[in-house]
Symmetry: C2
Subunit: 447 residues, 2 copies
């Protein structure tokens, strides 16, 4: 047996980092690099040492969670990107305009980019990935999807030998928290949202979280990674949790389901890709049903891997910084090895998205109706004419008003294309007994 | 806005693969590379094309799951390693002797190694990682731990900026299947094992699965990755599922727990590392409790990431091949880029393992006793003298023999060091009323 030898510590040149944006995640990156620098160097066999050299912020005087020296700060992001001591640019300001300029400028300067900006990449990824290819300079974006969960690396690298059959995710912690509180504590949507804001789980403008678009942006990125073509966000079906009412959650419970804001990406046999984000009923005993609070989970099915699930904190300072730092180490390794592009590049100009009208599930439909004999028959007749099967109807009794004139009538419908349901609902809406627009939830079997 | 450009397909030189071992996983690698070759080239932006050039097997005439051409086969592994057209060697024969020679020879020939051999790396990793460093040639071993779950990449790359606080895993599918069948169907250990063998979930010699060592080897690798030093397997506490009886599973259920073969790796504040594998009681409502059948799950806590969990198929042809192919792509990328070592290297000569005597949990202890008044008092008195608190005692009534002379008496004990419990048990064993050795399960709170 040979004597055991380990590599002696290598003196490594440190890689210069420029941060643009120093809010929650930026401070987390700084703190992580401060406290765990030696560990990172150790764990990369002495090959990676990271040093923050410049930080751009809007307001230098603002108090922060991290004690970076004042001389690093500037209010001009150009100074960060053009600083010759900065090798890698970290974009953490969010938005799709200035952030676009920053990322573009960094790529043109051949400086690899690390970003957590899902909106930017989902909305303008086509342009940025093309520029990344042209400049042979990667964009790393683990922090953009599911916070600390390494789902980008999993899809791109670990599942590289798999045809991705489906991805099902709970990837907006704010919505998940609100739905959980409505479910567990019986809070109204407004009260649950307020609580989430008070706890810092929802931003003062929670629009992108509760309208589904934050989750949809992430789903678009996962779809692009999986199927290799840029997805036009305008072609993607997105609904948020604003339409969820306590009565739907109660019904879901009674029927053995839980309401979750679900992202679904799925490859069909005809080559079309289904992408949608919406609050859905999922079986209460499914593992995704137990993903609570601000946690995220992504279930993936690969043709080789079968079913897998990744679970963890989907947002927050340290978890998201954990992903950004992993990307920094990856970018630094590539740079110190003189390796070329190793980020993601779409490999097709386009692909075929499945029209939402053609996607099939079972459904829960709640009709606000006048409570008189014949209502069930009238609605059922329209559904029958439309060829849609009924697996159950329910009407909740409000104990304080057992004889109320207006009630909610719930139909559980067999699997059919969404387009077929939409047409039937149009006819049903015109019935006299139906007093308001029906509310539709998909029932996902997740098999 | 610039016109959108994507990279034109690059003509890539294909990387030559040599397979040593062509059983379940080897055939899976072959089949994956056959069916998904174009996808892999696409997903690596045309940079990786893999081609199997030589396959070593013990018996060429044996029927197989994959239709590799006969001219690729040899019975001499040296021919694979020394073949100039082979760039990367995949070791899939298992065991720690010939496999050691194969991996060593490949590294000496500066050919990167992909292996799924946990026993080899856990038992002889010190030597192999040292040789890997000396030859600047990596060993990739994603397939060695948790089948298709990319836990090696997660720990090594995605959590590179984290201090790993703990890893808790269910990482032996065979044991997990047997325990599940004992729990759900009330099968005896022997019947459940037989069923697992009939279904191909357990090998004809299931020793390493049921005695805990397969799981322990994986835990050792995760600990080495996390803390950077080679772990001596002889210092690791390992117990298998052979001692689990139906009565323990029934008790666990009644008390709100599930019995799982659990691997635990944990960093303590004094710098010592706790590593152990044993059947344990875990709370029935914990997410790990719902990991059933041949699935695996690994929960990780990082100082930045917080809690995360990775779940998927822990064994089997395609899931394990999925991991091996991901490693092949990684190795091929590095080679085609002319990059140096990028696998794992320990960065410390040694570390401090926590003695099992010093590890603390609560306990479930079942004493086979003579059923007479005073037994509880006698045992409780010894425990009191040892300073061990009791949180409950139970004695199951066997409905068919309500007045049996010999019964099992269960004590639930407060958290104390295992050494303290062991000393007390020694005294209790010598009591007249105790008819056999007590059976101990740890109760893990997993908080």
């Amino acid at each position: 047996m040979d004597p055991i030898r380990y590599p002696s510590p290598v003196s490594c040149e440190s890689i210069g980092i420029g941060l643009v944006g120093f809010g929650t995640v930026g401070s987390g990156v700084w703190n992580t690099l401060q406290s765990n620098a030696a560990l990172i160097t150790d764990r990369t066999s002495g090959k990676v040492s990271l040093s923050v050299r410049r930080i751009a912020v809007r307001d230098i005087s603002k108090p922060r969670d991290a004690d970076a020296p004042t001389e690093l700060f500037t209010t001009d992001w150009n100074e960060v990107v053009s600083d010759p001591s900065v090798d890698i640019v970290v974009e953490l300001i969010g938005g799709t305009t200035t952030a676009f300029d920053i990322v573009s400028a960094a790529l043109r300067a051949k400086k690899p980019v690390v970003t957590g900006n899902k909106a930017l990449l989902a909305e303008r990824g086509s342009e940025l990935f093309a520029l990344s290819a042209e400049m042979d300079t990667p964009i790393h974006f683990e922090a953009a999807v599911a916070g600390g969960i390494p789902i980008i690396k999993a899809v791109q690298e670990s599942l590289v030998g798999n045809r991705i059959e489906s991805i099902t995710g709970i990837i907006n912690g704010t919505s998940n928290y609100i739905l959980e509180r409505m479910t567990e504590a019986g809070l109204s949507y407004q009260d649950a949202l307020q609580e989430a804001q008070d706890l810092g789980y929802a931003e003062s403008d929670p629009t992108l979280d509760v309208n589904g678009w934050d989750a949809a942006h992430k789903a678009i990125l996962l779809a692009t990674l999986s199927y290799g073509f840029p997805v036009d966000p305008q072609q993607v079906y997105v609904r948020g949790i604003e339409m969820v009412r306590g009565i739907d959650i109660t019904f879901a419970k009674q029927l053995g389901y839980v309401v979750k804001l679900l992202c679904l990406v799925r490859a069909h046999e005809d080559g079309s890709i289904e992408i949608r984000t919406q609050p859905s009923f999922i079986p209460a005993n499914h593992i995704l049903a137990s993903v609570n609070g601000v946690f995220n989970a992504v279930a993936i099915r690969g043709d080789r891997l079968g079913d897998a699930m990744f679970y963890g904190r989907g947002a927050g300072q340290d978890p998201t910084a954990s992903s950004a730092v992993a990307d920094l180490v990856e970018a630094a390794r590539l740079q110190s090895q003189g390796s070329g592009h190793r980020g993601f590049l779409p490999y097709k100009q386009d692909g075929q998205l499945r029209s939402i009208e053609d996607t099939k599930t079972a459904y829960y439909v709640r009709f606000p109706v006048t409570d008189r004999p014949g209502v069930v028959a009238e609605i059922a007749t329209v559904l029958a004419k439309a060829g849609i099967g009924i697996s159950g109807t329910h009407s909740p009794v409000n104990p304080s008003e057992p004889d109320a004139d207006f009630v909610d009538l719930v139909f559980l419908l067999h699997t059919c294309p969404f387009g077929q349901l939409k047409d039937a609902l149009k006819s049903i809406e015109s019935l006299d007994c139906v007093t308001d627009r029906p509310v539709v939830f998909r029932i996902e079997t997740l098999t």
